[in-house]
């Protein structure tokens, strides 16, 4: 048995993950051709690298098909019901910072808080005959947040990408999305609600609570914990 570590398979997130492990004494690398999702780990015995889409890592952890995984807190909390039961965060990795926020058009000078959004939604429904649309891919997190804060008369519409553009295209009136700098929001004439921060996310190393570990795997995990906690 080997301890399977799932990491994002491409882009900046993969590079930063590799750098983070390098700082902790482990060398992660992709093997084979550039298009082949195979990897290797040097610096520790008994571990195997699995390259996956970041969005699939929560599900694989919850199913126990990987033992460890690097992904964002946002994805874990969105995709896993009762996420604390299926995974345990081992350490935050201090990159991949992103805030999940609610944003509305900057031209809505009357809307600054969730309270305003709720009032605007009530009036919008009366005027237009349908519920104010909020575009997002984080359905669970956004719905829970809005319920907790008592916002009504809205509907979530699914947007898997270019979410900031949905308002201009008039397929949504507001959005809930992750943002790291806010530049894209400003470029699309949107502003964040002052109390519209749903979640602060960053890349995190998670341990599956579901996967079956052999005695040898447990030993490897202890070695890994030692490496992680050293710096």
């Amino acid at each position: 048995m080997t301890l399977k570590l799932g990491v994002p398979s491409k882009g900046r997130l993969m590079e930063q993950t590799f750098e983070w492990f390098a700082d902790h004494g482990l060398t992660l690398s992709r093997t084979g051709s550039d298009r082949e999702y195979a990897g290797a780990i040097a610096g520790i015995d008994g571990m195997e690298l699995v390259l996956l889409s970041a969005g699939e890592i929560p599900r694989e952890l919850a199913a126990g098909r990987i033992d460890l995984g690097v992904t964002g807190t946002d994805l874990v909390q969105e995709k896993l019901p009762s996420w604390r039961r299926s995974v345990e965060p081992l350490t935050e990795m201090c990159f991949g910072h992103a805030d999940l926020i609610i944003a509305v058009p900057s031209a809505w000078v009357d809307v600054d808080t969730l309270d305003d959004l709720d009032a605007a939604a009530a009036a919008f429904r009366l005027t237009h005959g349908f519920r104010l649309r909020i575009a997002t891919k984080y359905h669970r997190l956004v719905r829970d947040f809005l319920r907790e804060h008592g916002v009504a008369d809205y509907q979530l519409v699914d947007s898997q990408g270019a979410t900031e553009g949905t308002v201009k295209n008039e397929t949504a009136e507001a959005i809930a999305d992750i943002t790291s700098t806010g530049d894209t929001l400003r470029a699309n004439h949107l502003k964040v609600l002052s109390d519209g921060l749903i979640l602060q996310s960053q890349a995190t190393l998670f341990l599956s609570n579901v996967s079956q570990l052999s005695a040898q795997d447990r030993h490897t995990l202890e070695l890994l914990r030692g490496l992680i906690n050293k710096t």
Partner: protein, 359 residues
């Protein structure tokens, strides 16, 4: 589905039929749009939504009330009594161990003649087959709070906002405290209302909600800022009303006291008294019923009068073995202009059997 549960469901349905109800069935697949418009987005977290290429979004029925009301409003003659037995489907987002598919047996009354009698009839008929389980009955009346809000000496806009959030206790409280001037006005709002030209920065307009709607809202905010705060006593009265909780006879005394300083709730209190008399006439021991003025506010949004639930051991975190209430306004929403006073209740046979097994 367990055969014993099905058999019990049929027996309970027969009990309602013997009381004069017509047995009806409704489709399991319901158009999602109707339910989403009624309950809002929250229902998605509690119901199974599926996509049909021809019929659009469909929902596995989360309860029978809406389809039974629709059926009655379309075809029913008055007065009418219906019963049904079948599965309902509730998605469980958190792992609570609650079933996501279970049976409900229900009884619904559409009758204009005497609402107090209809309320008592439903409560008595639903309680009778469960009497051996020694359940704790809890009742309330959403009409009390609606009457108290309607009676506030304030703008119609504020009353409408409060009524809209009757079923969201936290938001309701926040609004009430703000209208009473007990919470500070957000800084951004003060700035907005003080600005000579709120659009001075001329931000680029995007989206469907246009300048006119923003201007209307600013006008509404200005009107609200100009309105005097709610009187402290009126707000205190509402909190006192919401805190009324105890055995029904004691609660009736408390409500009658309150009604002396809150004339707006007098008729709502009279309705509760008439209902209590009707319950007593059916030999129901009022002293064993708990009245809770806040009960039913965080459940399904359509109950707007009498609400009740029967619980095992008073355990509030376990679901009710039986529950129901009055939903006059729902018939108005679904009736396309028509309306009729309506009250109903459901029993969960699988819970009845499991309690009997553990007795």
């Amino acid at each position: 589905m367990d055969r014993a549960i099905k058999a019990r469901a049929e027996a309970l349905k027969a009990h309602f039929e013997a009381a004069g109800a017509v047995a009806v069935e409704t489709p399991i697949l319901q158009p999602a749009e109707v339910l989403l418009d009624l309950y809002g987005e929250d229902i998605r977290a509690r119901a199974y939504v599926t996509q049909d290429p021809l019929r659009g979004e469909q929902m596995l029925r989360p309860d029978f009330t809406v389809p039974v009301v629709q059926m009655h409003m379309a075809f029913g003659a008055e007065p009418a009594r219906y019963t049904y037995a079948g599965e309902v489907f509730r998605r469980q987002e958190a792992d609570t161990g609650r079933p996501s598919e279970y049976m409900q047996v229900g009884y619904e009354v559409f009758d204009r003649a005497d609402p107090a009698q209809s309320d008592a009839e439903v409560f008595a008929l639903v309680s009778a087959p469960l009497s051996h389980l020694a359940l704790q009955a809890k009742i309330g009346d959403i009409g009390l709070l609606i009457a108290a809000v309607n009676g506030l000496k304030t703008t119609e806009a504020r009353k409408a906002a409060l009524r809209r959030h009757i079923w969201r206790p936290k938001r309701f409280r926040a609004l009430l405290d703000r209208y009473a001037g007990q919470t500070p006005v957000p800084v951004a709002r003060i700035k907005l209302l003080a600005a000579a030209d709120p659009f001075a920065e001329s931000p680029t307009e995007v989206g469907l909600r246009g300048r006119g709607e923003v201007e209307n809202r600013i006008a509404a905010l200005r009107a609200d800022a100009a309105a005097p705060p709610l009187e402290g006593e009126a707000v205190a009265n509402i909190y006192q009303l919401l805190a009324v909780k105890g055995s029904l006879p004691a609660a009736l005394v408390e409500l009658a006291e309150l009604a002396r300083k809150m004339p707006e709730i007098v008729s709502a209190v009279r309705r509760i008294e008439a209902r209590s008399a009707a319950l007593k006439a059916r030999c129901i021991d009022l002293s064993r019923i708990v009245f809770d003025a806040a009960y039913g506010r965080s459940s399904m949004e359509y109950y707007d009068g009498f609400v009740f639930g029967l619980y095992f051991d008073g355990a509030s975190d376990s679901p009710a073995v039986a529950s129901g209430g009055r939903y006059d306004a729902l018939t108005l929403v679904l009736g396309q202009g028509a309306e009729i006073p309506a009250v109903g209740g459901v029993i969960r046979p699988e819970m009845v059997l499991s309690l009997e097994a553990h007795a």
